[in-house]
Amino acid sequence: MTRALLLLIGVECLVGGWWIQRHRHAVRPPLPNLTEVDRVTAAEFRERSGGARSTDDWFKLGEDYLATGFFPEAEACLRHAAGLDPTAADIAYKHGFALERIGRISEANAAYHLAADRKHPRAKDCLYAIGRNHLRLEDLPAAEAAFARIEAMPGARLERAILDARAGRTAEAEAAAKLLAAEFPTAYPPVALRIRLAVARGDGAAAATLSDAFVRRARPLPTPFDTDVDWILRRASAVGRDRLFRDAGRDAQAGRTAEAEAKLREALEARWSSEIADRLAEVAFVRGRRDESRRILAEAVERGGPSVAALWRLGQAEDASRDPTEAIRTWERAAALVSGPEGQELLLDLAQAYQVRGDQSQINHYRARATLAAGIENLDRGAYDVARQSLEESTRLDPRSPNAWFELAECHRLAGRAADARAAYARCLELDANHGRAIRARALLSD
């Protein structure tokens, strides 16, 4: 029995020794420098970096490093995952994406080629990325060749038009940009190219017309990069402290305020930020702890700076704490900072606060500003009918505001009401003869 056990122990030592030696030299995921990362996220990464075993473990850790900005570590994990499973197209794609983030452009392209060869479902997007990478390397012929292979893709078409313009093929560039602008009526990049072409040929009138169109087109052209950004942001919100913040928001929306508060406190304790403090103050307010909400917001203003949003909420907390004088003071401080479409609700709160005091002049002043802000927002969204109502109200409340008359004139012009537009521009310029935007816009009206 003793001999048998000794023999067994001998075999175990040999096998065990080999096993331990193997794992001593086993590759482990790199751990980023976590000294400046909040402790919730740091703890999560420490745990996960110790446990990566399978290809999937390495891949998912690489994706999470990518989403949280640890690009070299992401590239290392994805590189290892690609080595473990060289046939996996998505690993190759993400590895290419990670290489791109750290500026290893040629290697990124090799990875994208691999992904495309492996029949990645986004094989055309790989070609787009390859083309863009050639632009990063300023290799224009290679970029042109890559984009030519995906000639139907809008992003590729725009890039080819830009390359045409750069090469002096201005007629081709103009034609391609014009077609893209027609197919994507809300996209501004083709118009930005057309403006440059017009300036280059000295056509000031065309440049002016195109400049007006440029402003009205709100969106970029769709590109494959949008998909990448979406998954990165989604992934980032599922990691560490950001996950707590996301889940707290979901709890709050579902009415689970206690759970929301617990998560927000944990997130805030991990690392203070004014955004989390603001959300915590909102939850505290909803739960009836208005004084505490006020305290949190006052701290947010002190530590994070007097932003419009923080000041507005602080004023609301002060108002709810039956301190309307302080609320007005805080709101007026915020109102001095807002411009354009910003702060509509803040301005209405001020108008309401003065309503209680019966100060008609201030009521009109803040309502005029609030309706102007609303009008600008809707004008910029292309909602001209809604904008019109707000802007007409604004000019009624403050008939001496040249900006309000200008925005109303723009609203009329863009809605096709030329006569109304001319009248509003005229009123604007009576009040401010130097309103350059009004002068330029009026010139765009056909006689």
């Binding site: 029995m1 003793t2 056990l5 000794l6 122990i9 175990e12 065990g16 096993w19 331990i20 030299h25 590759v27 482990r28 995921p29 790199p30 751990l31 420098n33 400046e36 900005g69 640890f70 690009f71 070299p72 590239e75 290392a76 994990c77 590189r79 290892h80 290893r104 863009r132 632009l135 970029a143 750069r166 501004y188 403006i195 440059r196 300036v199 440049a207 400049s211 440029f214 990165i232 942001l233 690392r271 203070w272 930020s273 700076g305 007097p306 932003s307 001095a336 900072l337 411009s339 354009g340 479409p341 600008i376 910029d380 900006n403 130097n434 309103h435 350059g436 935007r437 002068i439 330029r440």
Partner: protein, 440 residues
């Protein structure tokens, strides 16, 4: 023969061996979870670490200690009160103030906020806008340092009335304004303004014609996304101030608006890069080769393409050399990660201009990544790249000048933290007073 009695120790020995035989596989089983293993090597940025400079500087904090995320968007050295002592003018986008750090006779500084709060000021230029003999301030107001296309930008004049600064809005309801620079563009003797409206998806380059009495008329030079800086100088030597404009947001161009007189400009693109990811983020006028023609330094280091940054090999400093008559040729001076700003001075006192670069988006996760870099000129515009400081980090703006009247150029830099950093690497405003290397 009598039988030997059984060995009383034998059963215990067997038990012990049995236990050992059980333990060995258990220990081997947990080994993978406790042994350190070999960390996978990571690729390191090649543009983040440089040898230390041979010049000596003593760093000190200017103003209050930083909060969790200080946001100084712009610094400038200027003798605002014309008392013979250069001061520091700073745009604080966290406190929403333009702040004057006035140099006292003792050499210390007094913090004086100017005017009322403005939402995220990012440029403040001292200029006598109303011609009354004192220096006013004109500020570019972004409205928000975070990306937005909303029309929340402004140009604000802080009018100096006997030392008290009064806010007057010269332009509003435009997209985020990132720069404003003075110049008499129409040659009528008063100061006009060049304006960069960066926005986000939409922007424009304007000039504001001074009509007197605080009234300005805006003129459009170019509608485009991404104009960030509009430095003014007589680039073509015809005696009239021209406007250069840096346009990023994937365009990566520099435009020159040559002043044709009486408010007319001829636009021309003098630089463009096919690399849409160049990350151009600063444009500075400097006659680097001392040929009496103003050149331009372009710095590139922006890289927030997704939600986090990383230094790219093409980041750094380019020299757009003015060859005369508005012709420029581009030459890369240095590759440095995450550069956001540059300033020029003869730091080593050898008669040529050196350059200091401030880094906002370098590889901060690795110790020793440079936040302040010195490019030392050999006299022929060849530059040696050295690290002047590796903290504080996230430096977005830098200025150079002799702050303590010892004949040696000093440096002031401001940090703009989009993310938090460790306390020992977080700064707000930092001075580097040169202690060696200059000659009176």
């Amino acid at each position: 023969m009598a039988e030997l009695p059984p060995n009383p120790r034998q059963p215990r020995r067997v038990q012990a061996l049995f236990v050992v035989a059980l333990l060995i596989p258990v220990l081997a089983g947990i080994a993978p979870y406790v042994l350190p293993g070999t960390p996978l090597p990571v690729l390191i940025s090649p543009v983040s670490h440089f040898p230390p400079t041979s010049l000596a500087f003593a760093a000190q904090t200017l103003g209050p200690a930083p909060g969790p995320r200080p946001r100084i968007a712009n610094v400038r050295i200027v003798d605002l009160d014309r008392d013979g002592r250069p001061d520091v003018l700073a745009c604080d986008a966290e406190r929403n103030r333009v702040i004057w750090y006035r140099t006292l006779p003792s050499g210390s500084f007094e913090e004086i906020p100017l005017g009322d709060e403005v939402s995220a000021p990012v440029a403040a230029v001292p200029v006598d806008l109303d011609g009354d003999g004192d220096l006013d301030i004109v500020a570019a107001v972004l409205g928000n340092v975070l990306p937005t296309d909303a029309r929340i930008g402004r140009v604000v004049w802080l009018e100096n009335r006997n030392g008290r600064y009064i806010n007057r809005v010269l332009l509003d309801n435009v997209r985020r304004v990132s720069d404003v620079q003075p110049g008499d563009f129409d040659g009528d003797g008063d100061i006009d303004l060049a304006v960069a409206v960066f926005g986000y998806n939409h922007g424009e380059i304007l000039w504001l014609e001074n009509k007197g009495g605080g009234q300005f008329r805006d003129h459009l030079l170019l509608a485009t996304d991404g104009p960030s800086h509009v430095p003014v100088a007589d680039f073509n030597g015809d005696g009239k101030p021209d406007i250069a404009a840096l346009v990023s947001q994937e365009h990566e161009e520099v435009w020159l608006f040559e002043n044709a007189g009486k408010g007319a400009f001829t636009p021309r693109r003098i630089f463009e890069s096919a690399n849409f990811d160049l990350g151009s983020v600063g444009l500075v006028v400097a006659d680097l080769d001392h040929d009496a023609k103003p050149d331009l330094l372009l710095v590139a280091g922006d890289n927030l393409e997704v939600n986090h940054h990383y230094p790219q090999p093409w980041h750094g400093c380019l020299w757009l050399r003015n060859g005369g008559a508005g012709a420029f040729d581009a030459r890369r001076l240095a590759s440095v990660g995450g550069v956001y700003a540059a300033a020029v001075a003869d730091f080593d006192g050898d008669g040529d201009d050196d350059i200091v670069l401030a880094c906002m988006f370098n590889d901060w996760s690795r110790p020793g990544a440079a936040s302040l870099v010195l490019l030392e000129n050999d006299g022929r515009q060849n530059f040696t790249v050295t690290t002047l400081a590796d903290r504080p980090i996230h430096l977005a703006t830098v200025a150079a000048g002799d702050l303590n009247d010892d004949g040696k150029p000093d440096i002031v830099a401001g940090a703009l933290n989009l993310y938090s950093a460790a306390a020992e690497r977080t700064g707000r405003l930092t001075l580097w007073l040169q202690t060696t290397g200059g000659r009176p």
